[in-house]
Every structure is written in structure tokens, then in C-alpha cells.
Symmetry: C2
Subunit: 232 residues, 2 copies
């Protein structure tokens, strides 16, 4: 990877960096496009805190200009397998909205990333949502992203003064196999990122949860080796 | 005040309860309309932590069904007199967006309140914004609220499944004098709430910051006594 601190920066971008594969590829694409990347991770009480460790590792490996982890304890609300004591499903990916849905997650996370962008003087907000392998989450759909951009334009000082935020979703129309190919093309090590919802006691990816299944299927379809060690 | 736990509840409402006068009146109006009120306060590292104590006092005085304080340390972002070390302005209320603007605050706070609503099984979200005495904050404007409602419909499970959230802003078209009158009509003690941006060392309201000035002017115009003790 080249450094983000090149002299040819086209401006600052705020990137939501969860620590998952998609967010890693998104951050690397923002760098490749020439942005100075300011990354935000959110510690929302997720069970898989290994995601946050991965986010820090990715920020370091990519030499990002800035990386902040902000705490937001969504467990106080309840309501999701990712933050509650509900069992994580392993039955495969369906079309219904899954129980791993976190209430209004991307609405909250995009709002925070926009606030971070406005504070940092960035007008480009990157998020690694994608519509194809989106597991049924409504807040990954393009129409949600477009509506959010308009709301952010109306509800921020920068937007109100004629400098709206662009919400950039470079993975929007990619499959997981496409994302695996981008990962390889960008020279990223897949194991820097973390996808598993339900790691083992030894901190290995389970290989069976929806997130592991989507990831493994993507790398397999792309014919690319996932350097991640799976429990099975 | 009558209790919120009456048997005639028309459903649950999530109310953003900052602890200020507007949020207190908003919560009381939701109760009056028959909602079971679930209140959310956000500890975002504001200098005036007295607001949060007021929120807890209001929740107790109004006998709300539930009150949660969620921590979100926006100081990590920087950029506002309310969370940074910038001096709070005392020169009076102008028409420009003031330095006390917190980046994307209502976007973030409404998103969190919507997430809270979805978790709690509420479909009505109350926020005490108002457009007349709004101090120049873009995220208090009606067009922002309308756009937010559409974004929340698109980006949540409840919205996607045909049960959108109503974003209720009962103070939207009221002046501060109108709000003072509502406060009196509802039998609320003004001093339960906290408005000052810059309290003294003895935890008295300064009486001079924009927020104190708006509040005092409102009560004065309405001819209602504000039971708050001011430093001056």
C-alpha cells in the first residue's frame, strides 16, 4: 500500500471503519482515489470486539491519517443478536431481515460519521454497504443512502451553507466475490479484517455464521485465498 | 402532573430528553397526548452536565415509564463551544449559525432516538426542536425533520416493513413565550429544567449566554415567573 499522506491528496474523507472486510476495502479505495482518510470506528458493545482490534490494525497497516474509536453503548437499548444474548443464526442467508439486525444501525453510524466528517473538515463520507450480499438489512439499500445524503445536507451547517456531504458507497453494486478481488488487487491481507459474528473461545472465526459464510463464499467464488484461520 | 402509567396509553413514544425546558415541555405534551413515554438522554461530553441531572429529575417528576442515559463522547470529534474549550458567546442571538453548533447534532440524536424507539417498540419519536427561536441551527428546521422521517422509514426494519416512525415536533412553531405558557399550563416547574450553556462555579445559570437569554426573554414575554435562580 502507498501512504495516505501523499502530497497529492484531493481532500479529506471520513470513512466508517468497522474492521470488517468491506470497510477495509472501502478505506483502501478511498486512499487509492487520493483522499486523506480519517477513519471512525464505533464501539457499540458488539460481542465481536475483535472487529475493533481489526479496525486499529487496518488503520495502522494502511497508514491512515487519523483513526478514532468512539464508544456508544447500544446494549442499553437491547434488541439484536449482535449486542444481546440472542443466539447468532447459522442456518444460512435468507431474504428476511435477520435477527442480527441492529436497530437503525447504519442510520446511527452514518450520522456519526457525518458529524465526524463535519468536525474534520471532510465532505466525503465513505461507508462499505453493499446491496447484493446485504443479508436483508434495509439500511444498506441505495435508496436509504440517497435519502440520508439529502437529510445530512439539510441538517448540517456545511450542507446548509452549500457544501453538502457526498455519501460514497464504492461497494454498493459489488458481490462478495468482487470485493474479494478488490481486496487482492489493492494488496490487502484479508486476515487484517474481521467478519465473524460468533468467534470461538480461542478468538478464531467460527466459519459458520452468516457473515463467515458470505465471506468464505465470496473468496471461494473469486478463487482467492482468504488468509483468515477458521475454527472448522 | 398525572402519571404516565395510566391504563389509557395510546402506545409508546420515544422522547429525546436533553433536560432543557423544550425537552421537558415536549415530554409532558407526549404524556398529555396519552403516550407511555420512554425517554432518552445523551451524555455527549457537554460542559453543562447539569442538563443530564435535570433530565433525570424531569423523568422522575413526570413519572416516565423509562429513562435511559446513553454515553457518546463527541469531544473526540471536537468542533463546538458546547464540548470544546471555545468561549461561549454572550453577544446576543444573531441569524448566523452560532459556534455553539454541535456538528450534525440533531441528525445524530434523532438517529439514536429512532434506534431507541425501534428497540422499545415505539413508533412515535418526539423531539423538542423549534423553528422560531432556533438560534440558527439548521437541524431544527421543518424540512430537515421531514427528510429525516423519510430516511428513517427507508433505513429501519420497522419502516421497511410498513410501520414507519412519526417524528413529532410539538414545539416546532412555538415561540419561547409560547413554550413558557405551555410549561405553566402543564403544571411544570421551570427550574426542573436546565438551559444554561455556561453555569457558574456554584452551578447557577449564568443568565447571559444565548440559551439563558432566549429562555428569560420567553418567560418575560409570557409574563410567567421562571423559578430558576440566575447568577445575575
Amino acid at each position: 500500500m502507498t501512504s495516505s499522506r501523499s502530497s497529492e491528496s484531493i481532500g479529506k474523507a471520513a470513512v466508517l471503519l468497522s474492521g470488517g472486510l468491506d470497510s477495509m476495502v472501502t478505506a483502501a479505495l478511498a486512499l487509492e482515489q487520493g483522499y486523506e482518510v480519517h477513519a471512525l470506528s464505533i464501539d457499540y458493545g458488539q460481542r465481536h470486539v475483535l472487529e475493533l482490534e481489526s479496525a486499529s490494525r487496518i488503520a495502522s497497516k494502511l497508514n491512515l491519517a487519523r483513526h478514532i474509536i468512539i464508544a456508544l453503548d447500544l446494549r442499553a437499548f437491547g434488541g439484536s443478536a449482535l449486542t444481546d444474548d440472542i443466539d447468532v443464526p447459522k442456518g444460512g442467508v435468507g431474504t428476511d431481515i435477520p435477527v442480527t439486525y441492529v436497530p437503525a444501525r447504519n442510520l446511527v453510524f452514518l450520522s456519526l460519521t457525518t458529524a465526524f466528517a463535519e468536525s474534520a473538515g471532510a465532505h466525503d463520507v465513505f461507508i462499505g454497504v453493499n446491496a447484493l450480499d446485504y443479508s436483508g438489512y434495509p439500511d444498506c439499500r441505495p435508496e436509504f443512502i440517497a435519502s440520508f445524503a439529502e437529510t445530512a445536507r439539510l441538517g448540517t451547517k456545511e450542507g446548509a451553507e452549500g457544501r453538502p456531504f457526498a455519501i460514497r458507497t464504492p461497494l454498493q453494486h459489488l458481490t462478495k466475490a468482487d470485493i474479494a478481488r478488490e481486496c487482492a488487487r489493492l494488496g490487502l491481507d484479508p486476515s487484517w479484517s474481521w467478519s465473524c459474528y460468533d468467534p470461538t473461545g480461542e478468538n478464531l472465526a467460527c466459519g459458520k455464521c452468516d457473515s463467515c459464510r458470505l465471506r468464505r463464499k465470496g473468496f471461494a467464488e473469486a478463487g482467492i485465498v482468504d488468509s483468515t484461520t477458521y475454527a472448522d
